[in-house]
């Protein structure tokens, strides 16, 4: 029922995203025909021929309707630049970005949860201060700088991980993980700092609640209190932000995938933007937007799992 109630707003969001994506890419200056032909071959006749072949001279609404109509059937057209089907390009690239993104979130949570809990448990102590200032420091460092430093340390100096490149999971799972590790770590650092700060704040509040005091009085161990009693109610902000941060991770992947020469959707998007490969840009942007909306929709549903007291009606207001 809840899913059905949310459906119209979801569809409206996606429709708006598709229109905006289409408009923004179509109104960008620069002629894709010129990019396709190259400056040396761009005679006015050749440009006109290519524009007509790609229907670039049709009015915008007509082009939008054609595009969205085909997109709904899974046909995003073919790239102007490479001639490969846009959907195929996205299907090939999405697992790469998803793997790096997921790995980044897992790494970030795996470090942030214990560290955030420790920080909350030791609130006000030197440990807390060190953790807090380290978190702020990491937040301030842009991911591309982190990436270069990681390459310097792990690839150039220590030689334990590859500096660039990608190995498919199906070709070699171990090498795949090695090639994903540095890009994921570059994305994870800032996320980790955000998660640590959030969890610390929420957990300090939780630890002051009556049921925690009651548990302490009953002689429950600190570890059990933290992990069994306090963590779940302290995870709302963390979960919300983890969902929202999916956008940051996708955005970060544009830079990180280019630096590490990884064939994900971020790099696909960047290359497509640079050469005005409109259909590719539109397809990728739409898929990213849909992924983002779906992830946050899922986060919404997860609230009820974390705290059954929360009604669906209330959580629907959160996104």
């Amino acid at each position: 029922m809840y899913v059905l109630r949310r459906l119209p707003s979801l569809i409206a969001t996606l429709l708006a995203v598709s229109i905006l994506t289409f408009l923004m890419t179509s109104l960008l200056p620069g002629d894709p025909a010129l990019q396709i032909l190259g400056a040396e071959n761009a005679t006015p006749e050749a440009i006109a021929a290519v524009r007509s072949e790609l229907s670039l001279d049709d009015p915008l609404p007509v082009r939008y309707l054609h595009w969205i109509g085909d997109a709904l059937t899974g046909d995003f057209g073919r790239s102007y630049r490479t001639n490969e089907p846009v959907s195929q390009a996205i299907i090939e690239r999405l697992p790469v970005t998803a793997e790096i993104g997921l790995l980044a979130i897992v790494i970030a949570l795996a470090i942030a949860i214990p560290v955030g809990m420790l920080s909350a448990y030791r609130a006000g102590t030197r440990t807390d201060k060190v953790i807090s200032s380290t978190s702020f420091g990491l937040l301030a460092v842009p991911n591309f700088m982190v990436a270069i430093l990681l390459i310097l340390v792990f690839a150039v100096w220590l030689g334990v991980l590859p500096a660039t490149g990608w190995v498919n999971f199906t070709d070699n799972p171990v090498q795949n993980l090695r090639s994903a590790l540095l890009p994921a770590l570059s994305l994870a650092i800032a996320e980790m700092a955000v998660y640590t700060r959030l969890l610390r704040t929420d957990m300090i509040a939780t630890l002051q609640q009556d049921f925690v005091t009651m548990a302490r009085v009953k002689g429950v161990s600190n570890r059990r209190i933290l992990f069994r009693h306090a963590l779940r109610p302290s995870s709302f902000s963390l979960l919300t932000v983890a969902g929202v941060q999916v956008g940051a991770i996708i955005g970060g992947s544009v830079v990180i995938e280019t630096l590490f020469a990884v064939p994900g959707v971020g790099r696909l998007l960047l290359e497509a933007v640079l050469v005005r490969d409109l259909l590719m840009v539109q397809g990728v942007a739409l898929v990213i937007a849909v992924s983002y909306v779906v992830v946050n929709f899922t986060v919404d549903i997860l609230y009820s799992y974390l705290d059954p007291r929360i009604s669906h009606g209330r959580s629907s207001a959160r996104v």
Binding site: E84, I148, A155, G165
Partner: protein
């Protein structure tokens, strides 16, 4: 390590005049290079397009000016082994006519395909895959004869009919990006099994140059027809290596063509080409051993690669220079005094410094670099030197002229826009240019225009002045015919009857002395009228581990020495890996 060693079996020739380079000890320099890379990156020169020149020097001690080739002993060729090559960009498609082949793409193409013609170390164009190429008396027909017994990787024979099918169905098909450059060919006709004739609209002595690039890379027409829309993703050529696999933006793998038409080649078993767009991480990949050879077209990277230990550097200073373009169709730039004033006002040394090439990139004065046979001392002399007083004199003369071409009142200062693509180093250049022009009294507005838009604006002559690339490693006829005639590629709108006369000579003679004289005349006209200004040449490098040999030592089938690794492009069939 020898400063310059003759690769086995090739002439030192071209490389002999290149100076050796003192190499600092490794380790700390490696770190310094990457740390400097980080700074460069923070300044934002990483990745994406721009005009190439970027970043600053790493502080290497007294970097040498011009191309430096420092390579280890080459030894005897060894068969076997595989290497990984880091290229600066991915290529859209591997099918000639569809793919846009810049330097990275040409590298892969030279593994998969063979060019019908290629350039010797002296700059001549000679048959490579073709057996011969002969013009008729008036240079309107070029007869190309193929070698017998050459087959594509799918076993289709390379014959005259194959060339015709490629020409008719792909290279000149609607939408093909080679159609415009082949516009001058009215037809390609089959003479016999191995001979074709290219019939041209008019004489063109430079026609064979075209067959060095993608219109001259035969691919299997049967394989292309079978692959249909996906032909660009499954290339089948005659080259020293066969296509194995391609994952876009990740890697393209090729393996040895056991049936290659040149006996004894290729030496390597396998090559993996990896596009690594970021300069810093590509260099780090070479340092960490993830790639064995790396290409760079940015002088800041070229300088840093010089300081790596255990790396052979094959640098090349081509005829591509940074520079400025002026729209001569628009007042006040239609007046030569204004153009000369603007040229004299430019401090080229300062601009080169801003571009990170101080002491490394020599100043440029003409379309062809000093390494080219077409370079002329006379033209160099004629280029407007940095002379503020002269610039001011010419500038004042124009603005105080009652008949000034922009129709503004006497004494009104010039006001115009200087456009550049959004590259940080170009942005700095633009600011410098703005201050230099501003010193004359001109009000200069800076405009950042995306590369694609900028090209479009220049093609439409919808601009005042701005940064662009000047010159090309092509035949002078092709370069000047595009730049200074009626055609759509004349972005400065500058034309001159004197240039037309000289272009006719370039078009109708193959005699080098006559052609040099014609190029010199054109250079003099250009430097007097300054539709273009120059801001230093562009160094390129192929940097490889010392074990990777003969990156520049390729030879023609008849033993003539080729043009090395010019513009960071390698003939991979000739490369070997020392044991």
């Amino acid at each position: 390590m020898a400063a310059v060693a003759a690769p086995d079996g090739i002439s030192v020739g071209k490389w002999a005049h290149m100076r050796g380079h003192r190499r600092p000890t490794a380790g700390s320099w490696q770190r310094a290079a990457v740390a400097a890379g980080l700074v460069v990156l923070l300044l934002g020169t990483a990745a994406c397009g721009g005009d190439g020149d970027g970043g600053g020097s790493t502080g290497a001690e007294d970097p040498q000016e011009g191309a430096v080739v420092e390579i280890s002993e080459q030894g005897e060729p060894v068969d076997g082994g595989e290497i990984v090559v880091g290229l600066e960009a991915e290529t859209s498609s591997w099918l000639p006519g569809r793919g846009t082949f810049n330097q990275p793409g040409v590298n892969v193409a030279y593994a998969l395909y063979d060019p019908l013609m290629h350039r010797t170390e002296d700059g001549d164009v000679e048959p490579y895959l073709a057996e011969s190429m002969e013009p008729n008396a008036d240079l309107t027909e070029w007869t190309l004869t193929l070698r017998p017994g050459v087959r594509f990787h799918d076993d289709t024979p390379l014959d005259a009919q194959a060339l015709k099918t490629i020409f008719d169905d792909y290279l000149t098909a609607p939408g093909a990006n080679t159609a415009a450059s082949l516009d001058e060919v009215t037809s390609l006709d089959v003479v016999d099994e191995l001979t074709v004739v290219y019939r041209l609209v008019e004489a063109n002595a430079a026609f064979p140059v075209l067959l060095i690039s993608s219109p001259g890379w035969p691919f299997s027409p049967t394989a292309a027809a079978a692959a249909g829309e996906d032909a660009g993703a499954r290339p089948v050529g005659t080259g020293p290596f066969r296509f194995v696999s391609w994952q876009r933006d990740s890697q393209l793998v090729v393996e040895k063509n056991e049936d290659y038409w040149q006996p004894g080649l290729p030496h390597l078993d396998r090559i993996t080409f990896r596009p690594i767009p970021d300069e810093d991480t590509r260099l780090a990949s070479l340092q960490s051993g993830d790639v064995d050879v790396m290409q760079s077209l940015r002088q800041s990277t070229v300088i840093r690669a010089r300081d790596l230990d255990g790396i052979d550097n094959y640098e090349h200073l081509g005829s591509n220079s940074g520079g400025g373009t002026v729209n001569t169709s628009k007042p006040p730039f239609d007046d030569v005094r204004v153009r000369q004033a603007l040229a004299h006002a430019l401090d080229q040394e300062a601009i080169i410094e801003v571009l990170g090439g101080a002491g490394v990139t020599p100043p440029t004065t003409q379309f062809f670099s000093e390494d080219s046979p077409y370079w002329s001392a006379k033209v160099a002399e004629a280029y407007p030197a940095y002379d503020v007083e002269k610039a001011q004199e010419l500038y004042d003369d124009y603005i105080n002229d009652p008949d000034r071409s922009d129709g503004l009142p006497v004494g009104t200062q010039l006001s115009f826009t200087y456009s550049c693509p959004p590259d940080p180093s170009l942005n700095e250049v633009a600011q410098l240019v703005q201050s230099l022009y501003g010193a004359l009294g001109a009000q200069v507005e800076l405009e950042q225009v995306e590369q694609a838009t900028w090209i479009q604006k220049m093609l439409a002559r919808d601009y005042d002045t701005g940064c662009t690339r000047v010159g090309a490693d092509s035949d002078p006829f092709i370069v000047f015919d595009a730049a200074f005639t009626e055609g759509p590629l004349n972005m400065t709108a500058f034309q001159s009857p004197e240039i037309d006369v000289q272009l006719d000579i370039l078009r109708t003679t193959t005699d080098l002395a006559a052609r040099k004289a014609a190029v010199e005349e054109i250079g003099l006209v250009v430097n007097e009228n300054v539709p273009n200004t120059f801001s230093g040449g562009t160094l390129t490098v192929m940097a490889g581990r010392e074990a990777v040999k003969n990156l520049a030592g390729w030879i023609f089938p008849d033993g003539t020495t080729g043009n090395g690794a010019a513009s960071a492009q390698v003939m991979w069939g000739h490369v070997w890996l020392a044991g």
